[in-house]
């Protein structure tokens, strides 16, 4: 099977630090791929390189077998790759709708939209409400309430809903449960499974081994700027994964 998103020989240096050292990466259709690694292993750089947030110094990125060069997150977004950043990338004072459509607002048809550039708020609100409902986030009180009035889990929900609404090919989640309580984490894991069941592959970056082992189909272990190995959660224990991550143990076979 052909990977939907693939990185080959990716290199990224920041001054003297090599964040990515000829790193490979593959995401297959319909799967949840977890990316784990110690702090500073280069997970974030890898994700940023395939999502357009940083431009790799060397190496290629392929989307559905075709080589792509993303120069900005917007670029990747236009190709159907949506990223939910750890910081969620939302404007707290703006409404849920404003945030969902930030950077890709809908304009009214006709004169008002074309010449006076008026936004089609009704259409955007309707769309936002539908998308939140699809993911079971119906308890959001008011689609026009400011994001800062939402709880942490609700914010995460809105961010995931935004990604799911627009990410037609790949969704990348960076530490989606790190800042959440137990119940809210559970809800986000359910969201991930909801999204996968709709056939959209997900890249999940996480430090939380139970979460990773629960939802991931494959686990990409990142160490010292490159992919150490890819394991299936059924074949190894969490302690094995942590041992690989920290270098306490070496995997016997190198994944092809």
């Amino acid at each position: 099977m052909e990977p939907i998103l693939q990185g080959k020989n990716l290199v990224k240096r920041y001054g003297r630090v090599t964040a990515l050292d000829h790193c490979d990466f593959e995401l297959y259709p319909g799967e949840v791929l977890a990316v784990i690694g110690d702090n500073g292993a280069g997970k974030s750089s890898l994700i940023k390189a395939v999502s357009g947030a940083v431009i790799p110094d060397a190496g290629e990125v392929y989307l559905e077998g075709k080589q792509v060069r993303f120069s900005s997150p917007n670029d990747a977004r236009e190709h159907g790759i949506e990223t939910v950043y750890q910081t969620l990338a939302m404007s707290p004072a703006l409404s849920i709708t404003d945030n969902m459509f930030m950077g890709r607002e809908l304009r009214k048809p006709g004169f008002m939209g074309k010449y006076l550039r008026q936004l089609d708020k009704k259409a955007m609100e309707k769309f936002a409400r539908e998308k939140l409902s699809e993911l079971g986030l119906m308890t959001i009180q008011n689609i026009n309430q400011a994001v800062e009035t939402l709880s942490g889990g609700q914010r995460q929900g809105v961010a995931v809903a935004r990604a799911a609404a627009f990410g037609s090919k790949v969704i990348i989640l960076d530490e989606p449960t790190a800042a959440l309580g137990v119940k809210e984490s559970r809800r986000v894991l359910e969201l991930i499974q909801d999204v996968r069941s709709r056939g959209i592959p997900i890249v999940l970056i996480s430090h939380n081994m139970p979460h990773v082992f629960e939802v991931a189909d494959r686990i990409h272990i990142h160490r010292l700027g490159k992919r150490l190995t890819v394991i299936k959660p059924g074949d190894y224990t969490m302690s094995d994964a942590v041992a690989f991550m920290t270098g306490a143990k070496e995997p016997e076979t190198v994944a092809a």
Binding site: P92, A93, D98, Q118, E130
Partner: protein, 353 residues
Amino acid sequence: MSNENYEAASRGGTSDKLAEFQDHSRGFLGNIQHVLHVNPAMVPLIVLVASIVVFGLLLGSKFFSPFALTLILQQVQIVGIVAAAQSLVILTAGIDLSVGAIMVFSSVVMGQFTFRYGLPPAVAVAAGLMVGTACGFVNGWLVAKVKLPPFIVTLGMWQIVLATNFLYSANETIRAQDIAENAPLLQLFGAKVNIGGAVLTVGVIFMVLLVLTLSYVLKQTAWGRHVYAVGDDPEAAELSGVNVKRTLISVYMLAGLICAFAGWALIGRIGSVSPTSGQLANIESITAVVIGGISLFGGRGSIMGTLFGALIVGVFTLGLRLMGADAQWTYLLIGLLIICAVAVDQWIRKVSS
């Protein structure tokens, strides 16, 4: 909303229902906080109406007449226009200390281009507007691309533009009669429209239209939403797909252009072109913005609030003068208002459900 609610609702959730609206009682103070959070221009509007009523009761028809009330509009028109520019910059979590200098320099360019080089007034006005926009562009470029703090950039630009203004104009004033004879276009904003006892000038009408237009643009267009997003959290805005640098540069350029219009209006207001006028415009514009409820931390507030803020200052100034009070009382009260406005802003920012 509590976590229990959230969890419980998500369990039973079916996806055929749309997101629902639930109202929670927040208590009286909480309700006020919520209303203010949604409509940040409410506080200055209430203060404005209250101050008009109080001065109206104290002074009677001396104050509460079409003439006096429109006089306030005439007195605040320059500050109002400049404050509109200042609002845009402050919404992006910046500050523009060079607004007054850009305004004066633009007016000097309009005057000197007409009288020194003999250019048609329309060309001179266009040149003045371009100079203002160019100053704004330099500010915006330094803030967005070189990533210097707006306070420092505009502090420097203030000095640079003001010094350029004095050097270029050789400190010469162009007399009002000369302008009226040779280039009446420069005094266009001073043209008066009488409606009953009310006296409106083109400058006043321009100020009101400007604020209404900006209000529309900020609320109803993508660019306006981006201005708020950039002020709220520039990194989040960038990651959500907003071109932060371009937005910032466009804001400073537009602010420069509006300041140049204020320079044109300044000629209409004082009649002459004077390189020493408008020295207090930057402080007064920041005062109007702050009293108008726009957060200095960016991303919050409405431009209507700025207009109300400018009018509050105007009402206090005229009202106290008509009462025969020492002018220092005005400054004292304005100072109090500024501190109260920021305290209210902090309180509103704490809002959570």
